[in-house]
């Protein structure tokens, strides 16, 4: 593939992923029912993550920009402040691409080390939270230890490339949740105060991150033909 073809391919990939984004953002297919107050988790940010993984941070950035515009124009999103709706979302594809690039070459020992560093960080956050809400801190700590155990077991079963994909999916999705909510608090969007944002983040962000990881792995595995068996691992 020469430079010219790669350039065209980037533009075309970004265009088609943006078409998928619009389809997911504007039709009911993009909303998965989950047991949270909002009732559904969006998957419209997933093409941005996949664009970042497959074609690098620039394509991730462009698809994320399109996602932001789609959300801005969508009649389903009543908040019309570009600093809340568009700007934070620019980071989705870039973060996913960087996480994937960072983890792509990592071996199991390095991944395990990263997992424990993350566990330490979450446990510290849980300690801080437990000083205000004891039950919430304990819940976070139990969830984190459980998550790390499950992640560790999975690490020794699956191959490392899939781990990198899932991590990029989770990172991209959490980027969306955390940055948009932080911007909403900063810009004082109606009804969003810091405690409200934290509870939305926990209840909406975690299922979205899990779903995003599942779908990113499934899609990239089928497009790139990775995984233990060739083809999709559904």
């Amino acid at each position: 593939m020469d430079a010219q073809e790669r350039g065209i391919r980037r533009v075309v990939t970004a265009g088609l992923l943006l078409a998928v984004t619009l389809l997911l953002a504007l039709t009911p297919v993009g909303f998965i029912p989950v047991p949270t107050p909002a009732g559904s988790a969006t998957i419209a940010h997933i093409p941005s993550i996949i664009g970042g993984i497959l074609e690098g941070p620039l394509v991730g950035l462009i698809v994320s920009l399109g996602f932001g515009f789609a959300a801005f124009l969508s009649p389903l999103v009543p908040v019309k402040d570009p600093l809340v709706i568009i700007v934070p979302r620019l980071a989705i594809g870039v973060v996913a691409a960087l996480v994937y690039l960072g983890l792509r070459k990592a071996n199991k020992a390095a991944l395990l080390a990263i997992l424990f560093v993350l566990l330490a960080a979450v446990l510290w956050a849980a300690k801080v939270v437990s000083e205000v809400y004891l039950w919430l801190g304990i819940a976070i700590a139990v969830l984190a230890v459980g998550g790390v155990l499950a992640g560790g077991l999975w690490l020794f079963r699956g191959d490392t490339q899939v781990v990198g994909l899932a991590a990029a999916g989770v990172a991209g999705s959490l980027t969306n949740t955390v940055l948009v909510l932080a911007a909403a608090v900063w810009r004082q969007v109606a009804g969003v105060t810091a405690p409200v944002a934290v509870s939305i983040g926990l209840m909406q962000g975690i299922p979205e991150a899990v779903i995003s990881a599942i779908i990113v792995v499934a899609v990239v595995a089928s497009v790139r033909q990775v995984g233990r068996r060739r083809g999709s691992r559904l």
Partner: protein, 278 residues
């Protein structure tokens, strides 16, 4: 089955064909003026200004000679959300400043205190949101998608001089808009095929997150596979036609800024300046 059929009606504003001044305006000036008025609506803090902007945007629908159905069509999908937000504001929102003597308590019931000022504040934030939704719908009602893409590309052209990919960005946008209906058709076919094999025929509860995600993945993975197959085809087709980006490209559509466009831009800039000043 109803769900599969609803895919084709993608919920983005629709174009209404009339021959008003707004329809004849250059897409560039509509985009820029729309951006300026959006900014004005976001920064406007005085209640009177918000109401004036709202009235101005509604009167633009008359200038555009759009039927009343256009306003209703734009607002119907957001109505429930607006009601919830409005209620939320009444109960928990802050009181807008600069309303001397309006802090009259109207209702006090348990922890809920509703004052006149809060009611006004809630009404204002709802009016602001309705204005913005109507403005976005107005742009899409008076401008065809292809004109919007041309306008966007022309607005981004100065970026090319700075070495930024203005042409490529517009190309991404036009590919996305061209292929969205095609992908929607493919998705619909996949959905019908899976329904015929009874996948997705039963309703899952909201608690079955993993199964719900897997069912969506069964729809989304073929969608992405379709998209990536089209990436291969389109890349080959563009290479075969010697596409080499924006340099030296000629255009089928030409837009020209007329008197109306400059007047509209001037007015929009004045509105923003007014909103910033007060």
């Amino acid at each position: 089955m109803a769900e599969a059929a609803s895919l084709r009606s993608v919920r983005l504003g629709r174009y209404w064909r009339t021959d008003s001044i707004l329809h004849l305006m250059d897409p560039r000036s509509k985009l820029v003026a729309g951006g300026l008025i959006t900014a004005a609506t976001v920064v406007a803090s005085s209640p009177w200004l918000v109401l004036m902007l709202f009235a101005g945007i509604v009167s633009l629908y008359m200038v555009a000679r759009l039927p009343r159905a256009a306003i209703l069509a734009a607002l119907r999908p957001v109505l429930p959300l607006l009601l919830v937000l409005g209620l939320f504001q009444v109960v928990l929102g802050g009181e807008p400043a600069g309303l001397g003597g309006a802090g009259i308590p109207l209702l006090s019931w348990g922890p809920i205190h509703v004052s006149l000022a809060r009611l006004i504040g809630a009404g204002l934030s709802v009016a602001r949101l309705v204005s913005l939704v109507l403005l976005a719908a107005l742009l899409l009602a008076t401008t065809t998608i292809s004109a919007l893409v041309t306008g966007l590309e022309m607005l981004l052209r100065p970026l090319n001089r700075l070495g930024l990919p203005g042409h490529q960005l517009a190309m991404v946008g036009s590919i996305a808009l061209r292929f969205m209906p095609i992908l929607a058709e493919g998705l619909e076919a996949v959905q019908r095929a899976q329904l015929a094999r009874t996948l997705g025929a039963d309703r899952l509860s909201r608690w079955q997150v993993a199964r719900n995600a897997r069912r969506t993945a069964a729809l989304i993975v073929p969608l992405f596979a379709d998209a990536f197959r089209r990436v291969d085809d389109l890349t080959t087709a563009m290479l075969a036609r010697c596409y080499r980006g924006g340099r030296g490209r000629t255009y089928y559509r030409h837009a020209r800024m007329g008197g109306t466009d400059w007047v509209a831009l001037g007015l929009a800039a004045a509105v923003l300046a007014f909103a910033l000043a007060f």
